[in-house]
Symmetry: C3
Subunit: 318 residues, 3 copies
C-alpha cells in the first residue's frame, strides 16, 4: 500500500495513515526505554538533504535515525548557492550515487522533492517543500490528536492562520479529512486559498465562529514580514483578530487542545498563557515527531531481510 | 553529592570535584586503548546546544560522547537569530521534548544554562555562559595540574589576564581554592573584578610579583578588541606588561608549568617559545578535556540500570 | 610500502596504487550488502578537518568512515577566520591532542596538509590543497577507469580544462602516468602550466587533437570567474572551444568514457547530453569515491591488532 516515497499526504490512503500511526505508537515505547536504541536500521545510511535551513525537523530526523541505529549524514545547502535546478539535480544524483538507503529532502520550492524522487534510486521523504506539503508534520500532528482524544474520526479540527502559504495546513487538511475529521480553517481573506472548500474544509474569516465547538485548534506560525501591509495591516491587529488567547478559546469544547508546529511567535498567533497552558500539546507534538519519523524511516527504508525483521524491534542486546 | 546539573564550580563540593577527577582518570585509560570506545552510554542521546560558536569545546564533548557510545546531536545557533529569551526557552524545551539524556549548553549570556536547566527534564552541563562560568574547562585544568604536580592542595596557581571578562578564570578560582591551592590573579587594574579578593584570591597588577614562586601559571586568552583604548592602551603594551615569556617566567618555581585554555594569541599573552616549550601543558589540557568530559557525561547522564553499571566500563565486546 | 600519510600521488609507488585499488574493490562489495557496515574501524576516531568548504568530498569521507564503524567528527572552518599559519597549526595540534586515529585535511593553500602532517601524531590524508594535489580524487578516478576499461596501462587519457589551477589534473597526471597510461592535456595557452611536458604528458591547445583516439576524456570544472578576461575571453567562447559535446567526442575511440570530478557547469565544460549520456561515468566516480575512501581509511588508520584484523572485513554480526 505505502509507496516507495513519502511526498504528500494527498498520496496516502487511510490504511497507509493508520499503519504509520500504529508503527509510531510502537516506536514511542522504544523512546521510553533507558537504552533508546534498536538495531532495525543498522548499516543503513540516511541522508538529510536540506536545501532550506531547519533545526527541529533536521534534529528530529537525525535522532529518529540514530535510535534505529542508522548512520545519519547531514547535508545542508542554502538555496541561494544552488539556485539552478540542474545544480539541485546534480547534487541529488551525487548523493544518490553514495548509495543511501533513504533521503530526506527539504526545499523552499514546491515540487522539488518529487522531482528528486523521480531521479533517485533511494526512497525520498519530503520534509517540507515550499507552500506545498509537509507530510511528516501532519502525521505527527495526527498522532498527537489521536493519542490525546482517542480517535480522529468525528473530531472538529480548526486550523488558524496563513493557510495560503502554509504547507503544514495543506498536509493536515488532506490528512484529517481522510481520517474522517471535520476540518475548519480560519484566516484573513488574503490568506485563504481560493477554492479551498473543494478540499472538503469549511472556511471562516471569523476566528470565533471557526473555533466554536472545536476539539482541536491548530495555530499556524505567521511569517512576520507578511504582516506589514499587503496581506494584513499590522502585527498588533493580527494578534487581536487571529491570535489565540484563553479567553477566545472559551467557545471551543471544554477539553479542546491547542497545537502549533513551532517555532511559536509568542504574543502574536498564540498567547503566552496558552503556549504554556494545560490545553497545549505543543511539546507532545515535538516528542511524537521523533517516534513518527522513526516509523517512517522504518517503513520507507529499503526493507530488511527476514531474519533482521524478526529481530529488528526487539530490545537491543549488548 | 553531585547534583542533577553541572552549572558552576561554585556549586561543586570538594568531594564532587575529587569524584569527577578520579572518574576522568579512569576515562583516560580508555583513550589509550586501540578501540577507544566503551558501551556505557549506548542508546543515550546527548545534545550539544551551542548558542555561541565553539570548535574545541563542541568537538571535545562530541568525541567524549562517542567514546561512551552515546548518540551525539549538534545544534548550533547564532545568538543573533535567537535573541529573545522566549525563543531560547522554546528552543530548549523543543530539544528537551525529543527526550535527550543530557544537554550541553553554551551561551554568550551569563545565566542562560541555569534558566534552561530549570525548565528541562534532562540534566544540563554548562559549556560556558558569558563571563560567568566555564566549569568543564576548570575541571580539565585541575585534572591537568593534579597529574602534572601530583596534587592540588598547597600549590600556588597564578591566573593572568582579563580576569574581569573571563569565565575560565572565575571557574578556576572557585575550583582551585576549594581544593586548597593558593590562587593569585594578575591583571591590569581595568581587568580586575572589584572585590575579587573576597573569593580568597590575591590580586596583583604586577605580573612579576604574581608569578614569583608559582607552581602553575595560567594565561588567559585576551580579546584583541579589548586592547584598543578603553581597557588597555595597545596590544604591544599588553604583551610587554602581561604577556608571558620564558625570561619573565624565571621568577616562578623552576618546575612551573604554563597553561592556556586556547586558542592562543601567540606573541600577545604568550610567547612562541613558551607555547611550544617543555613548560607548556596546553596540549595536555586539550587531551584531558576529552577524558574529563567523558567523566562528566558518565556521571551526569541519567544513571544506567544496575546490570549496565557493571558492564559499562569494561572492554567492549564485539 | 604505503607511508604514514597520503599527501600526494607523486609520493605513491605503482605498488601502493595497486594495493589501494585492490582494497577499494573489496570495499565496493560491502557497499552492495543490505547492511553496509563492517566493524573494521570500531572505536577509531576520524576527524574531517576542512578549512575549505566542501560537500561531496566531506560526505564521501563521512559515509566511508561510518561504513567502517569509525566515529567521524566534522570540523569546518572558513580559511578567512584562520588565516595565519600559526592558527592553523594550533588548530591542528588541538585536534591531534584529542587523539584521533586519522585526520582528513582540506585547505585552499597548497602544502598545508604536509605541514600539518609533519606536526601531528595521527596520519593525515590530503583531501585537496590549493592547486597542488587531490590524491583521493585521482585514485577514485583511476578505480573508475580500471573497472570501466579492465586496465589502465596503455590507455589514452585526455584531461581538458584549466590544468594550471587544477589539483585534480595534477594528481591524475601523476597517477595515470605511473600506471602506464598515455596522458594528454588540452587547455587554452593561459591555462597550461609551463613545462608541464616534463611530467611526461602531451600538451595540446586543440581539443580535437587531444581527444582524437582517446579512451578516456576527463573534463575539469572551470571556475566561472576565470572566464572574464585575463585567462579567457568569455564563457561562451570557452564552451565553444574547450567544452565537450557528443559531436566533438566523435574523434575519440567509439567506447570512450567521459569523466568529471563535479560539480558540473552544465553547458560550459560539458553538454547536458554528455553529462547524462551513456558515455558518462560521472556517477560511478562518486560511487567509487566512497569505496576508495573506505580503502584509504582502512589502510592509513593506525593498524588494528591481529585479532581485529582477522575479524575486520567479515560480515558484521549482531
Amino acid at each position: 500500500m505505502i509507496g516507495r516515497d513519502l511526498l504528500s499526504m494527498e498520496d496516502l490512503s487511510r490504511e497507509d495513515i493508520e499503519k504509520i500511526l500504529d508503527t509510531a505508537a510502537h516506536m514511542q515505547e522504544i523512546g521510553q526505554r533507558a537504552v533508546k536504541k534498536v538495531p532495525s536500521l543498522r548499516g543503513r545510511t540516511i541522508v538529510n538533504l536540506f536545501f532550506e535551513s531547519s533545526t527541529r525537523t533536521r534534529m528530529s530526523f537525525e535522532i529518529a535515525g540514530k535510535r534505529l541505529s542508522a548512520d545519519v549524514i547531514n547535508f545542508s545547502a542554502s538555496s541561494s548557492s544552488l539556485s539552478k535546478s540542474e545544480s539541485i539535480m546534480d547534487t541529488a544524483r551525487t548523493v544518490d550515487a553514495m548509495d543511501p538507503d533513504l533521503v530526506v529532502v527539504r526545499h523552499k520550492v514546491a515540487g522539488v522533492p518529487k522531482i528528486i524522487a523521480d531521479a533517485l534510486s533511494a526512497p525520498v521523504i519530503n520534509a517540507g517543500d515550499g507552500a506545498h506539503e509537509h507530510p511528516t508534520q501532519a502525521l505527527l500532528d495526527m498522532l498527537t490528536v489521536k493519542q490525546a482524544k482517542g480517535r480522529i474520526a468525528g473530531l472538529t479540527v480548526t486550523i488558524v492562520g496563513d493557510v495560503l502559504h502554509s504547507r503544514v495546513a495543506r498536509s493536515n487538511i488532506y490528512g484529517f479529512i481522510k481520517m474522517g475529521a471535520e476540518v475548519r480553517i480560519a484566516a484573513p481573506p488574503t490568506m485563504l486559498p481560493p477554492g479551498i472548500e473543494a478540499l472538503g474544509v469549511k472556511a471562516y474569516t471569523s476566528l470565533r465562529q471557526a473555533i466554536e465547538g472545536a476539539d482541536v485548534v491548530m495555530m499556524l506560525r505567521i511569517q512576520m514580514e507578511r504582516l506589514q501591509g499587503a496581506l494584513f495591516p499590522s502585527v498588533r491587529e493580527y494578534s487581536e483578530t487571529f491570535g489565540l488567547s484563553r479567553t477566545k478559546l472559551r467557545v471551543a469544547k471544554p477539553d479542546c487542545i491547542v497545537m502549533h508546529p513551532g517555532p511559536i511567535n509568542r504574543g502574536v498567533e498564540l498567547s503566552h498563557e496558552l503556549a504554556d497552558g494545560g490545553e497545549s500539546v505543543i511539546l507532545e507534538q515535538v516528542r511524537n515527531g521523533v517516534a513518527l519519523r522513526m516509523a517512517l524511516l522504518y517503513l520507507f527504508t529499503g526493507r530488511p531481510s527476514k531474519d533482521e525483521e524478526v529481530a529488528a524491534l526487539g530490545e537491543e542486546t549488548k
